[in-house]
Assembly symmetry: C2
Homo-oligomer: 336 residues x 2
Amino acid sequence: MKQTELKTPYLIFLGDAEDFLMAKVAKGIAHWRPQKCLGQMRLSGAKADLGITEMSIAEAAAKGAKTFILGLAPIGGTLPHAWLSILIEAMESGMDIASGLHIQLNQNSDLVAVAKRTGQQMIDVRHPQLTLECATGAKRSGKRLLTVGSDCCVGKMFTTLAIHQELQRRSINATFRATGQTGILIEGDGVPIDAIVSDFIAGAVEQLSPDNHPQHWDIIEGQGSLFHPAYAGVSLGLLHGAQADVIILCHEAGRTQMDLMDGFPVPDFATLIETNLQLGRLTNPNIRLGGIALNTSAMEEGEALAEIARYQALYGVPVVDPVRTGVTLIVDAMEL
Amino acid sequence: MKQTELKTPYLIFLGDAEDFLMAKVAKGIAHWRPQKCLGQMRLSGAKADLGITEMSIAEAAAKGAKTFILGLAPIGGTLPHAWLSILIEAMESGMDIASGLHIQLNQNSDLVAVAKRTGQQMIDVRHPQLTLECATGAKRSGKRLLTVGSDCCVGKMFTTLAIHQELQRRSINATFRATGQTGILIEGDGVPIDAIVSDFIAGAVEQLSPDNHPQHWDIIEGQGSLFHPAYAGVSLGLLHGAQADVIILCHEAGRTQMDLMDGFPVPDFATLIETNLQLGRLTNPNIRLGGIALNTSAMEEGEALAEIARYQALYGVPVVDPVRTGVTLIVDAMEL
């Protein structure tokens, strides 16, 4: 039903990434799930460095690596011949391959033949092989938090992971539910919601976050924004499927224009809150705003704290910057 | 870019359909596009009848039929052997096949081999082969009308086709833009929006309804409802991608429960109108409600007309039943 769960530990491939922006997925896994990372493998010329043990495929296999993580796209978009050989060697050494690339490994006949011969799996996390079902809207047990956004790229995944981590620190029963390829590679499980056929958006989220213990929290990664002219449909399906008890609104402080969308200003904040709550009530009448996560990375400390205080005064909910202040205020208010 | 356009005229296959409900797609084509229908072909036992010339594949081919329309699903869901032979004969006689079935003809190796040998196409209209692009939100020239709904199955396609037909009767430059498989088979073109990967919903509608003459109207078939717990994401993407100047709200008079969705009442009508306008303003600030299409088929004439008058008084826009009263009042108010 769900995405194949990735076996651990991982060997993380950094290719010849020149910087950390290129190696964003690898960095995310190493930051959030260090216990899953056995080591990193780099090609000559790579400048990105996760600061974990460097190893070859043979060394990693000998130490028990189970999945080879291909998280960064090659320059040019097609798989270089050298990478192909590496993927084949990884499978021949007993590792599955998990790829977050747009290119589907499962459409490369050479790789498919090796996978068949070795019995290893190639998991294209952007290309789900789920048996999809339409949403029923039926109320599920357990509690759910969903991050929603003013826009794309405002820190929804980071916020979601930080809240999940804080719940774990407090020994609260909680699961991170990934909805994007980076989140899926970090968690080893999830549904790439923007790759799901549109009839099944809400249904896929129902499958991703099934019935659970009444006190269990699913911490669900949001995508897009209800006010994004290209992706709002995904955001609404996610909101409906999640049946969120709590939403956390994520925003980059100071951003006034939607990312890459000429002519679309970031919507008015009060409208953003009210629209998410209003539409979310369809599948959970008790939905509430649990806090605001501001990405203040472009601001000086003083300005950032003033901005956080300003939002707190305006909206009356806990406001944090997950990086600068942590998310404890939000988790304190979650009515656990 | 778009769905392959179907060649005309058609031979419409009715299989062994026992009634008109089974032959809904065929009936829709014969009703809305009689000039495209050369004839019908039925198997023994068929009770459905389009009232057009009965012909065999050989006769249809001799008279110039270009596309064999497979609009109704076989009982049991798999293609019977007899149907396979018919499809093969149609291709060997020079016809393309257009199918609205969930089963993909293009995954049947026997059929694929015949298509290759004969050079005919098999067009699975539920399974789009589009090069998808994300929406840009950029304003397009031309005018656009979109039908929106209180629920599924309330008459959106019928209303859209009726408005398009009335515009044509008045010699207004207009195109029907189909978004579901029945509409696509009727028009011979379109995008099956609920089968599109969710990232591309709004983008696919932008492709479906491109820039046009300033006075040209695209009359776009809506899907689902913003208040449907399974399909609202599709509806929102459609609303954003359409950049509708005018929406027509379609509703089945008297319906109080969402179709097949236990526990979900039909939303309050004023909320429905306001939410569609509010969310639609993102990509077209001038969006307006152009009328209400009530399906009053379950009511007596007097009750129906009273209900129409009641909605008209409440909402101050033209209210029609496209079947009972026609759509002239709505078209009169379109500010052509």
